[in-house]
């Protein structure tokens, strides 16, 4: 029998391999990765890793010996050119072919590049791969001023690190508020205030017209006429799913590789998991693409189960976190869009949760320095426990007890 092959050595790819072994698959297993590192954690790349306090080795999920132990043939620095579904083989960058019995696509995403004039200049950085962050880390040492384009999670985390390193930091966001895609205006406003209080120049509703070189570094020209002087630009304006391999071999794609609740693509021999999938999410009961650790891990488990002929539907509650300064944002469920919300706790004390409701149903919550509430919310959402607006905003109402009672 030909091997099972996993394309993409990120968190989802590693989890597919791990779960295949735990599910009893004992045949040949090959993990292909383009980068030159064993699978590593990406979340710290925009956080602690940039402070220089975290060695590269500590980012690895598992040491090399682990892959030997579970008999995964990891092939790094390996490009995949194409997939020949009829012949059930893949063509590698060096022209060789690799036949497969089953295939898992865990190809992840890549950064959305800037496209304004000047986007090709030196001193413009992105944060996606370990190499990206190593280059930025190195450059930060001789940097005084950082202009961040994009007020989403990555951009704000980078701005927070820049301030912790005592650099000047400006955040330029095209939309009228920060993290607009992911959180409500209440949370956006809280974060705008937080960053301003730490000395960040936060500019919302600011489109970038161009970036030009000046004697002192870079000049970012904004549509409103403002000019931001900076030594470097860090762009965090979102990601694009790596779905070309799938598209080119005729798999259904729609802003991501389309999979069903079982991580199955439109080819019965191919599954896909993680950031690259447009998947039917059993919890949300709709199609969505999620960029998160939770989705990478949970959907990869589902994909492995499908490959092993033990299908289990993907129904996990989405969760996500972002660390900015000493403030921990934890999100449970998907709050957007909502028609009602409730604030629990005190914004001024930097410890509160915002609960979101749609058609009188509790659909998600953002917790700021409130881990117990976040955990309770994950339980409530998993169980489908009814929660009212009045209960959510009543600080004396025992959420934990409600979650325990099921």
């Amino acid at each position: 029998m030909n091997p099972y092959v996993v394309i993409g050595a990120g968190q989802a790819g590693m989890q597919v391999c791990d779960s295949l072994r735990k599910s009893g698959y004992d045949g040949e297993l090959i993990l292909l990765g383009e980068e030159d590192s064993l699978p590593y954690q990406r979340p710290p790349l925009s956080k602690k890793f940039l402070t220089g306090d975290l060695d590269r080795d500590r980012l690895l999920f598992r040491p090399a010996a682990y892959f030997d132990k579970i008999a995964v043939d990891v092939r790094l620095r390996t490009q995949v050119e194409s997939i020949d579904r009829a012949a059930r083989q893949i063509v590698l960058g060096d022209g060789s072919t690799l036949a497969y019995t089953k295939l898992a696509l865990t190809t992840g995403t890549r950064v959305r590049p800037l496209n304004c004039p000047g986007h090709e200049l030196d001193n413009i950085y992105y944060v996606r791969t370990l190499t990206d962050s190593e280059m930025l880390l190195q450059r930060l040492a001789s940097t005084e001023r950082v202009a961040v384009i994009g007020g989403g999670f990555i951009g704000l985390e980078v701005a927070a690190v820049a301030r912790e390193l005592e650099k000047q930091a400006t955040v330029i966001e095209a939309q009228e508020r920060l993290m607009a895609r992911a959180v409500s205006p209440v949370v956006s406003d809280f974060y705008a205030k937080l960053h301003r209080s730490r000395g960040v120049d936060v500019r919302c509703s600011s489109a970038v017209e161009s970036i030009v070189e000046s004697k002192q570094g870079l000049l970012v020209n904004l549509a409103d006429g403002a000019r931001i002087e900076s030594d470097i630009v860090v762009a965090g304006i979102g990601v694009l799913p790596n779905s070309e391999l799938a598209e080119n071999c005729g798999l259904a794609c729609n802003s991501g590789i389309v999979v069903d609740e079982y991580a199955q693509t439109s080819d019965p021999h191919i599954v896909a998991a993680g950031d690259c999938t447009m998947h039917f999410n059993g919890f949300l009961q709709r199609e969505i693409r999620l960029e998160s650790v939770q989705n990478a891990v949970d959907q990869a488990k589902v994909a492995a189960a499908t490959l092993c002929g033990q299908p289990q539907a993907y129904r996990q509650v989405p969760w996500f976190w972002s660390d900015q300064y000493d403030v921990k944002l934890q999100m449970a469920g998907i709050g957007m869009p909502f028609d009602q919300y409730a604030v629990r706790g005190d914004l001024a004390s930097q410890a509160f949760s915002v609960f979101y409701f749609r058609d009188n149903t509790f659909v998600g919550a953002d917790s700021i320095n409130r881990p117990a509430e976040h955990m309770a919310c994950r339980k409530l959402l998993t169980q489908g426990t009814t929660l009212s607006v009045a209960q959510a905003q009543d600080i004396d109402f025992d959420l934990k007890q409600l979650a325990k009672a099921g």
Binding site: F61, P63, A65, Y66, K69, V297, W321, P371, A372, R378
Partner: protein, 106 residues
Amino acid sequence: MPKITFVELNGERKECDVACGLSLMEGAIQNGIDGILAICGGSCACSTCHSYIDDAWVEKVGPANDIEDSTLELALERKPSSRLTCQVEVTEALEGLVVHIAQNDS
């Protein structure tokens, strides 16, 4: 380097050298200990590095911190000796520590 003994779910004891400054979770992973998943990579967000500190060591290692205490709510079988190993930093004082890995795979 302190010697730490990890007891896996099947009862197997593995004595490992773990560098000071690493977390117990990192020490377990580097030494190929089964049963520690650590899917959030040590951000205290997932509770899949849950373990029980051996009774003789509970006091010395100390209780869970606030965020950890909340996160432990997600753990499958919490006990008074429960800790998330990503939140325990290895120091010389932990020479000889015994840690029992909890059930982390739901």
